[in-house]
Each structure stands twice: as structure tokens, then as C-alpha cells.
Amino acid sequence: MAPQILAAEADAAGSRSLTITLFLVFVAITLGITIWASRQTKTATDFYAGGRQFSGFQNGMAIGGDYMSAASFLGIAGIIALYGYDGFLYSIGFLVAWLVALLLVAEFLRNSGRFTMADVLAFRMRQRPVRTAASVSTIVVSIFYLIAQMVGAGALVSLLLGIKPGATFLGMDANTAKVATIILVGALMIIYVTVGGMKGTTYVQIVKAFMLMTGALIMVLLVLAHYKFNLSALLGDAATRSGKGSAFLEPGLRYGVETAGDAAKTFYSKMDLLSLGLALVLGTAGLPHILTRFYTVPTSRIARKSVLWAIGIIGTFYLFTLALGFGAAALVGGKEITAQDKAGNTAAPQLAQKLGLDYLGGETGGAIMLAVIAAVAFATILAVVAGLTLASSSSLAHDFYASVIKRGNASERDEVRVARYSALLIGAVSIALSIFAQSLNVAFLVALAFAVAASANLPAILYSLFWRRFNTAGALWSIYGGLISAVVLVFFSPVVSGSATAMFPNSDWHFFPLSNPGIISIPLGFFFGWLGTILSKETDPEKYAELEVRALTGHGAH
């Protein structure tokens, strides 16, 4: 890590072994919990929904654990450290999004569903086609998100373990270490999910959320103490050190960039900002791994309580990232951050090292702080991938295997067995894809997952719950329509081809000018859902009566 800061190579090695030790302690504790949880996992409800035994606070922490991904911790702090204010836009979108989940989704989903998102979507529809569609979109969203996390883990490992280009670690060069990390993370997540099910995974999230909040809090207090709790002084220092002056504290350095003399470019850049804002705020309530969390509590009232806790925890964390990002800009400096990682993903660990150096006993303190925060970052990634794998394997087993293939005649035992194999399959697929996708931009993959979730899942969920007339055709049109428009627009966008930072920088087939499809694909998802519905004659007022009564009163809830 930041070799120019470290006085001696010995410190780097010390920090590295401390990072690994702390990470192994986390792995040991969580594996212990997982094995304990596996002994309590007997029924399908235990495996998919953790026995619905968690309290509001526990599930609120677990939601935080699922939600505060590497993109939140490392990504947002990094964007703030390099581009200043614009990183804060992400935090705000990610937080406000929880109101959609709280007001429109969480309680009704808990009351009317059982294990997966499709339970609600297919409630009053023809089961097989709707569950197939829901399963497809669940897996697409989760895999994009999974790859983002695992690529992030791979990209960070060589930096966090301090493997420099050309150097080796345990006989591995930086590239081999990346691949090894992706495989290790993948293998661990498969174990958490297949062995521990939802119960084990939920406890892993709780432990991780606690570690992340504690680690971030310590750093925030040190940063604020450095500036004698004068926020303005911190901001002023960050602005000066960034070399961009007060523009660093204003929107516009990264998103909605104004290019003088190029009106079209300025226009598209601003549209892209609006598109990102829309995808962030509407994506959360369509993320399958978040939706399945609402099933882990006994009642819809406790689901409500858990969302309230989650809003408190996540909101506090995003306020922390503000101090971390500006703190890194002020105390570490943009130059040293980009020297380590161009995207700024190492800003938070670098800040930790600097704070340790200044306040906790010099070199050793720096090494310890770096090791702690690096271990927290790994734990963060590991917990999020476990949650994603569980959500997608649940959907594959409960929706696709049990309802589509077995037409509802699978035994619980069978279903859980298939869910375990599915976790293995999804884990293996995402390990393979992540190894090939290493050059992809992490933030782009996460934003794409949010855009697909908002375009394909959210319209169908809201129509299902609140629109009497909604039917099978509408559900299929909105899921496939939203999914396909989001993916196609991204394929023809500058993030895939036709720009220096694209996946295929040397080819150009792009015609869609925005990098985030949300502003087009989300309205399209709603439009297709409406169109498909009115073009089909099917209606089922009796099933809607049952869904509405159950969703609002909790009658017959599982």
C-alpha cells in the first residue's frame, strides 16, 4: 500500500500479515456461525428465510450489511476524495431509495410472499411464465452485482496486500493473486450459502455491518479530531489540497460536466446525471437480495421496523463516507490516491494508514489501521456476495425448479437440496465470469444492476401490489421489456464501445449517448407493463382481493 508512505518494506510485510490474520479471524468466526446455523436449518423456511426469527434491529443491521457494498465503502469515499462533492450524489440516491422500499414495498411483500420476489409477482398470475421471468431478472441483476463485487475484490487485493507489479506474494504475482482472491471469495460465499442458508448469511451480514460501522466511526472521529470538529476547516483543506479550489465542494466535476463550446456533450452529460439519479433512487426496492431480507422477520410490522433501523444505519454510514472522502482528499491528497489506484478505490484504506501514522503510534499504528480497514473491506465484499448468491439460488430453486419444472410438486427437502446446488452453480458461474470480466469498471456494473432492477422488477412489483387490472401479460411485458431495454441500451452505450474507457475501446458501435440507461429504460418498464396489461383480457378480481386483503392486513402471512 502506498509504498511512498511506508518507511520500510518490513512494515508493509507486517501490515500484510496483520491484514491476512484479521481477515482469517473474520472468516473463522463467520464459518463458525455458519456451521452453528446449519444445525438449526431444517426446513425450507429456515434455509430461505432464516426461520423468520430475526428481530427488527438484527434484520436492520443485516440489510445494512447487504447494502453497504464495496461500491459504497471504497467507491463513494474514492469518488469524493478525487472529485469532491459529486460522490455525495451517490450516497443521497442510495439512501432516499429506502423510502420507496419502506412506503411501497417492504410490508406488503412480507405479508403476501413467502421466499422470493416472484411469490408476490406470480400471486395472481399464471405461475410458470411469471416465475420464469422473475427468476431470469433476479439472476441477471444478481450476477451483474456479484461480478462487480468480485472484480472489486480482485482489483483491491494486490493493492491491499501490497503486491507491487513484478513482485510476488506466496509465489504469486499480482495477476495470479487477483484470480486466487476471486476464487477464494467465491468459494467462501458458496460455503456460507450452501451450509448456513439464510440464517448463516444473515449473521455474517450482522457481523460485517458491525465491523464496518465501527471501523468507519473510528476513522471519522480521527479525521474530525484532526480538524477540532470544525467541518468548514476540513472542507477548506480538502478543496485547497485537491487543487480545484471551491469547485471541489460543488457538483459538476464528475457528473453533468459542462464542456465549453460543446452544447450536445454538456446536454448528454447532464442527462446522464439525471439518469443515474433516477436509477439509484428506484433501483433499491427492486434488488432481489434486499427484497428477500424482508422475509427473515416474523411479521410485516417487524419488517417495517427493520427498514427503519436500516435507514438509520445506512444514513449514518453515508454521512461517515462524506468525512472519509473529504478527509482522504485533505490528509492523503488526490495525487497519492491516484498513484495507488486511478479510480480512487483505495482512498479509505490510505486514509486509515495516514490516520494511524499520525495518531496511533507512527508506522506501527499506520500498519494496524491499514490492516483493520483492509480486512473490513474484504469482509464487506464477502458478505455482500453471499447475500446475492443466496437470493439468486433461492429464486432458481423456489421459482424455477419447484414451480416451473416440477409444477409445484417438489418436496421441501428437494427444493432446499436444489437451492444448495444452485448456489454452487451460481457461485461457479460468477467466479468464471469475474475472472474474464476483470477489466470491467466496478461502478458501471453496480449502476447497471440498479438500472435493471428499477426497469424490470420495480414496475412489476408496484403494479402487482396496487393495480387491480394488472395481469400475466403485463407482468411479462414489464419484466422482459424493462430488462431488455436496459441491457440493450447499455450494449449500445459509450461504456461498451466507442470511448477510451469502454469495455471495447478499439471498436465503436454505440449510438445511445448516455452511460446509464435508467432515464429511458425505467419509464419503458412501466410503459410495457401498462401496455401488456391492457392488451390482454385476463383479469382475476378474486385473486386481487385475496392479495390486497392479505398484503394490507397480514392475514394468512407465512
Binding site: Y85, F88, L89, S91, I92, G93, L95, V96, W98, L99, V100, L102, L103, L104, R114, D119, F123, Q127, L231, S232, L235, G236, A239, S246, L249, E250, P251, G252, Y255, G256, K270, L273, L274, G277, V281, R301, R304, K305, V307, L308, I311, G315, Y318, L319, S403, G408, F466, E542, K543, A545, E546, E548, V549, R550, L552, T553, G554, H555, G556, H558
Partner: protein, 119 residues
Amino acid sequence: MPASAERYLEVQRSEEFAQLRHRLRSYIFPTTIAFIVWYSLYVLLSAYARDFMAIKVIGNINVALIFGVLQFVSTFLIAWHYSRYAAQKLDPLADEIHSTLESGPAAEAAATTTDGGKA
């Protein structure tokens, strides 16, 4: 099950349920529109009103930062207010309807719903 389907329709058409639905929808829909508009205003100002967002209020703390923190404050307040509203206005009514359903002729309805699940 026709009997329980009848029962659900009956409950759905009842005055109590209409009241519960009205109280719920008249809260969640306007609130959703309000916070989406408020959030959009923030995003639009960030994109198109840079000079306004750049005005310094206290020291280096500018309008953009205060506006951003206000989004946090409004999110916390809406969440808190909704939980209070739900506990006072929605939950008792929902419980009432729930208990008539459980004790009424549709008691078996819970056991025979969609995915063959257990109640």
C-alpha cells in the same frame, strides 16, 4: 377455493377495508410523490443551478452541501413520521380486519392460499 375467494371479495368490499386502503394510499402515494419531487429538485439543481449550489453559507459550507444533508434529514423524518402514522392509524384497523377474518368463516382461507403454503 371459492368460499374463501368470496370471503376475500366480501372483506375487500367492506367499509372497514375501504377505510384502511384509503388511509394507507392517501399517505403513501402523496408522500412518495413529495419525496421524489424533492429529490428530483436536488438532482436538477445539481445539474442546472450550479451557481446557486455554490453559494457559501457558513465558512466553506455551501448550499449544495446543506441541500444534500437536508435530503438525509427529510428521509429520516419521513421514515419516522410514517412509522408513527402506521402505528396509530393503520395497524389497529388492520388488526381489526385481520381478527374478523381469522374468527370468521374464512378461517380456513389462510390454509388454502396460492402456493400451497402453510399459514
